[in-house]
């Protein structure tokens, strides 16, 4: 099986503009940044959450706290993944009780990652509200989960894979659509 690149969906500039827009949207819909906190889902949700927080500082002049969530322990498919994932630490240096949380991830697909993330969050406390922000929404949901803030919606088939590549992790900056060919 090979993986071939089909198209580039976003350039570095487009990713940056989208992140700026998402930051504005979240501030607007939240009526400001007080009580707001972002939770980046490992791995690529983390740099995205940090970038959104940085953009918010430019808008509101306030530092919105950013937490990191590792969902490995909350997955429902541990026995199905070939190689067991390496556990990493979550790092949420604030109480989530009564917070207005925005979960941040790169791609929304089946919704199972978000289900796992919410289980993890609720082990930490009782947030006032939880919303979801994703860079790419690609359909094919298996759970009743939708994003509140979407960078870009993309029609895909389920043999296609969306790869968000970010400088902090991948040493390059773009979003590509790839496909598995037998």
């Amino acid at each position: 099986m090979r993986i071939v690149e089909k198209t580039q969906l976003m350039t570095a500039t487009e990713i940056d503009r989208t992140v700026q827009r998402l930051a504005h949207e979240i501030v607007e819909k939240s009526g400001g940044t007080s009580n707001l906190a972002l939770i980046g889902i490992r791995r690529r949700g983390v740099p995205l959450a940090k970038r959104i927080a940085q953009a918010m500082r430019g808008i509101d002049g306030v530092d919105v706290p950013v937490g990191i969530l590792d969902i490995t322990l909350y997955r429902d498919d541990l026995s199905k993944v070939a190689a067991q994932p390496v556990l990493q630490s979550s790092d949420i240096p604030f109480t989530v009780d009564d917070k207005d949380l925005v979960l941040v991830d790169d791609v929304l697909y089946t919704g199972r990652t978000i289900r796992a993330a919410m289980n993890g969050l609720f082990d930490l406390g009782r947030p006032k509200r939880v919303r979801l922000c994703v860079l790419i929404e690609r359909g094919h949901r298996e759970l009743p989960i939708e994003a509140s803030f979407i960078g870009r919606g993309v029609q895909t088939s389920d043999t296609e894979i969306i790869e968000v590549r970010l400088n902090e992790i991948d040493q390059e900056e773009r979003v590509v659509l790839v496909e598995r060919v037998p």
């Binding site: 590792d70 490995t72 322990l73 909350y74 997955r75 541990l78 026995s79 199905k80 993944v81 070939a82 190689a83 067991q84 994932p85 390496v86 556990l87 990493q88 630490s89 979550s90 289980n119 609720f122 082990d123 930490l124 406390g125």
Partner: protein, 322 residues
């Protein structure tokens, strides 16, 4: 990069890299002990058999709690009530347990090598929770986690182990583990409890020295591990309790000979006033309770890695890494 663990029979066959991987994987579980809600569903539907052929309170409760916090169910076998008393062989007992389809067996036994024997006869991952005078790997791992948290590293530390080294599986596992990181290990206790042969346990290149005078043993130590003195063993070659206390008890005055921020550790159960002065046990350098909490994290990590790996791919028969 990630390692796979088919069994956990002892520290001796592990590499330093595998040990560091286990300690790193314990970190997320340390956080979970601080969560308001500590129960995960990660191993839901899995069963851990706890087979304690030798009485144990703290290790059994720790493993049971670790399994519960991962969402796994448990089967419990305790020596006092087991059919071993009725003459059943070890192999028959564990085969019976296996027939109830657990996903892993955690066992303690008074005979050294019993978990190894079981691992070679059952198609099931085995975790050694202490066997005879051989090894107690999870204790050494939780000790290492505690030391690394407090000191930032394991490399090249001066570690003094006090007490009955000869009969201690905790000491053996710790010597194996610490010597893989180039620690300078000093063993100290009555001569009959610190035999020369114990020096062979260390990995080549690491220094183990035996010292009979406690003041000399404590000098410049980064870590002081005290072991429980089993009073029934004091009779072996005659040594009175009073004499042991006089010569080997870890007192505040003696502890001053170690580095000012030296850690004081004890695997429990601790006998205050015998091997350790209460002022030291409760003092700022003591990490005895931290060890207990870290024990949960290490055991959760092991159960997660062993049972998770078991279901996700074919198991290899040893501790070997990928």
């Amino acid at each position: 990069m990630p390692f796979r663990f088919g069994h956990m029979l002892g520290i001796e066959p592990l590499s330093a890299e595998e040990i560091l991987f286990l300690l790193d994987q314990s970190k997320p579980f340390q956080e979970i002990q601080r969560h308001p809600l500590k129960k995960l569903a990660t191993l839901r539907g899995k069963t851990v058999a706890l087979a304690f052929f030798e009485p144990s309170t703290r290790t059994r409760i720790s493993f049971a709690t670790a399994a519960a916090r991962l969402g796994a169910d448990q089967m419990n076998l305790q020596a006092e009530s087991s059919s071993l008393k009725k003459g059943e062989s070890l192999l028959d007992t564990v085969r019976t347990l296996d027939a109830m389809k657990p996903d892993c067996i955690v066992m303690r036994h008074s005979s050294s090598g019993a978990p190894d024997f079981v691992s070679r006869n059952l198609p099931l991952p085995v975790i050694n929770a202490g066997d005879g005078t051989h090894e107690h790997p999870t204790q050494a791992l939780l000790d290492a986690l505690t030391i690394r948290d407090r000191r930032g590293t394991l490399d090249g530390l001066n570690v003094t182990i006090l007490g009955d080294i000869l009969h201690s599986r905790v000491a053996r596992s710790n010597i194996h583990l610490l010597s893989k990181f180039g620690c300078h290990i000093t063993l100290c206790g009555p001569p009959m409890w610190v035999p020369r042969e114990i020096e062979c346990l260390a990995t080549a290149g690491s220094a183990v020295r035996r010292v009979t005078r406690i003041n000399e043993a404590l000098e410049n130590a980064d870590v002081v591990m005290t072991l429980r003195v089993q009073q029934e063993r004091l009779h072996e070659p005659a040594l009175s309790i009073d004499e042991y206390i006089l010569q080997y008890q870890l007192t505040p005055e003696r502890l001053r000979l170690a580095k000012p921020d030296a850690l004081v550790m004890h695997p429990g159960p601790m006998v205050r006033g015998l091997e350790i002065d209460p002022a030291v046990a409760d003092g700022p350098q003591s990490c005895v309770l931290e060890q207990v909490t870290n024990g949960l994290a290490v055991r959760m990590a092991l159960l997660f890695l062993i049972i998770g790996a078991e279901t996700s791919s074919e198991r290899d028969s040893s501790h070997a890494a990928d």
